[in-house]
């Protein structure tokens, strides 16, 4: 089904997901609306249980919403049949996972080739295309390596190549830096921004990693299934979580006010505040 033309590549309207029924009904996502422009990097943050995974699953056409609509490139996902959804995902989405999720029996090259072949690309062409992308991601010497032989950063780059091979409109990344060390995580973040800006692909990231805010064009805060203003957030110096200033326990040290996710973190901070401030620095 084609919808009206729009500048936004992704348009989400009043998206709601409810689980259970009657008194046991729980709304994991409540009336979320969102637009993402081509080439834009959007970061969605929020505490655990806020509905991030549910939202990401719905945006990736892996989970049907209870209400609302999702349009990608003008196609209304919610109107597609179960039979059509896998093919749509294959061509329009690139998925990047926290655990990389490469197929353990296949080499780096084969992991990427497989996805192109699934989309109907002839094997020879798929191999050429995959080799080219992997080379661009500086993996030209690791083409034949199995996932177990790759470092975390290499695995995530292979996963990025796999996400790009079918030239999708939207890249959905779930905690892409969570299993990477600081510098590799930073490198992967920059790579995602590079892909968005150079190739014009929209990138939607769900993460706890505050460092990704640096590369995001927009940061959205999801809490209790709803978006909240990101500018009211602060970082808990103890655990690193983003927290709402108005609802968080606070402490003042050396004239500076700090915000915490819980009283536990606040107590820990007050024991040796200099440790956390130095650490942050």
């Amino acid at each position: 089904m084609k919808a009206q033309k729009t500048a936004a590549i992704l348009r989400v309207e009043d998206l709601t997901k409810r689980y259970g029924s009657g008194t046991a009904e729980v709304a994991a996502v409540k009336g979320v609306s969102l637009e993402v422009a081509p080439g834009e990097v959007v970061l969605i943050m929020g505490p655990s249980g806020s509905g991030k995974t549910t939202l990401l699953s719905m945006l990736g056409a892996l989970l049907r919403p209870s209400e609302g609509s999702i349009q990608l490139n003008g196609t209304v996902l919610t109107a597609l049949s179960e039979r059509d959804l896998p093919r749509f995902r294959l061509r329009e989405f690139g998925f990047i996972f926290q655990d990389f999720n490469l197929l353990s029996a296949l080499s780096a090259l084969e992991n990427v080739v497989l996805v192109a072949e699934m989309a109907g690309v002839p094997r020879k062409e798929a191999r050429l295309r995959a080799t080219e992308i992997l080379k661009e991601l500086r993996l030209d010497k690791r083409l034949q390596a199995l996932p177990e032989q790759l470092s975390g950063g290499e695995k995530q780059r292979v996963a990025i190549a796999r996400a790009l091979i079918n030239n999708p409109s939207l890249i959905l990344a779930d905690e892409p830096t969570a299993n990477l060390d600081s510098s590799t995580g930073h490198e992967v973040s920059r790579l995602l921004r590079h892909i968005a800006k150079e190739q014009g692909k929209s990138v939607l990231i769900v993460s706890h990693d505050t460092r990704i805010q640096d590369i995001a064009d927009r940061v959205l805060w999801l809490e209790d299934g709803e978006f909240k203003e990101a500018r009211t957030l602060a970082i808990d110096p103890v655990c690193g979580m983003s927290v709402e200033r108005t609802k968080s326990p606070t402490a003042t040290w050396q004239g500076q006010e700090y915000f915490f996710c819980s009283k536990g973190c606040r107590s820990e901070f007050l024991l040796e505040p200099h440790t956390f401030i130095q650490g942050e620095a």
Binding site: D99, N101, A119
Partner: protein, 365 residues
Amino acid sequence: MSLAARYLLQNKTRLALSLLGVALALMLILLLDGLVRGMQRQITVYLANTPGSVVATQVGVRNLAADNSLLPPGTEDDIQKIPGVARAIPVLSQSVFFELHDRKIFAYLIGYDPAKGGGPWRLAQGREPRQGREVVVDQTLARLHGIKVGQTVEVGGYRFPVVGLSAGTNSWMTTLVFVRKVELERYLLIPGLTSFVLVEPQPGVSPQILKERINQLSGVTAWLKPELMAADLRIYEGFFQPLRLMRGIAFLVGVLVVGLVIYTATVERQREYGVLKAIGAGNARMYGLVLSQALVMAFLGALLAVLLAYLVAWLIMVLRPQFLVVLEPSAILLALLSGLGMALLSAIAPVWVVARLAPAEVFRR
């Protein structure tokens, strides 16, 4: 190489053990089938190898394997006079026990006229009986009991000189011993009697027509040879049931082996299958991935099973020559079809696992 093949080869030890399990189950199916076929062939070996396409027995006889048939003197001549009969071969038969090394050996004495036929169709050594109580015994019986041409064997106090060794006339429960008909009549004290007559039609005469003509004779029932062979086989049907049951059990064992291996591997790879579904693999592709692993395993197992079955069948027949294991080219087809059945049945549970995999689960840790 396909993803299915990669998955199979990823754990080579598991693959090897699984193939062995499948091959052993299929080999057992082939051997049991070969044993049944061998027994059936042994039961009907006499009728299958002697001349004639119609057999005349005493009226009321239901088979030759368990019923006694006795035709009065002159029946052979009456049959010979029927238009369309080329040759009527009278045979007198009797089950007896040979005494060899203080052991009783069950045998089937065939009394025949060497001039007319109905005797051993292949001689491994010596000659046919010409006079007196000369007999031809089976070469396997001779080998098992150290009987040589020139020696004698004893039946009911009578001594029979062995003048020849026949081939292909032994079975797991009895053995054929050939003697001149007149001598057997004398031994059984039934001069002129005949058990059955092998009838050969003249060229152009249909056995069915001949059978109908012979049935006109009083006290005689005529059979087409395949009918009588089928009647003999029915007597032994009870012997084959346990073997067929074991064959069915072997098939189930094979299904369980393939099924368990593919199911375990599928459960282990649930996350990867979930990833494939999330990325965009449809259910048909996922089912194909699981099923092709089962098919490859069953196919390779079937090939290995055929090799093993031929080897073990040869060993059985060397070590226990009274057993005939018949493995025909159709055995390969049987193995492949059994393997295919195993693959299809064993894939049901793994496919069920894959079908209910929610792709959204890949985002959960």
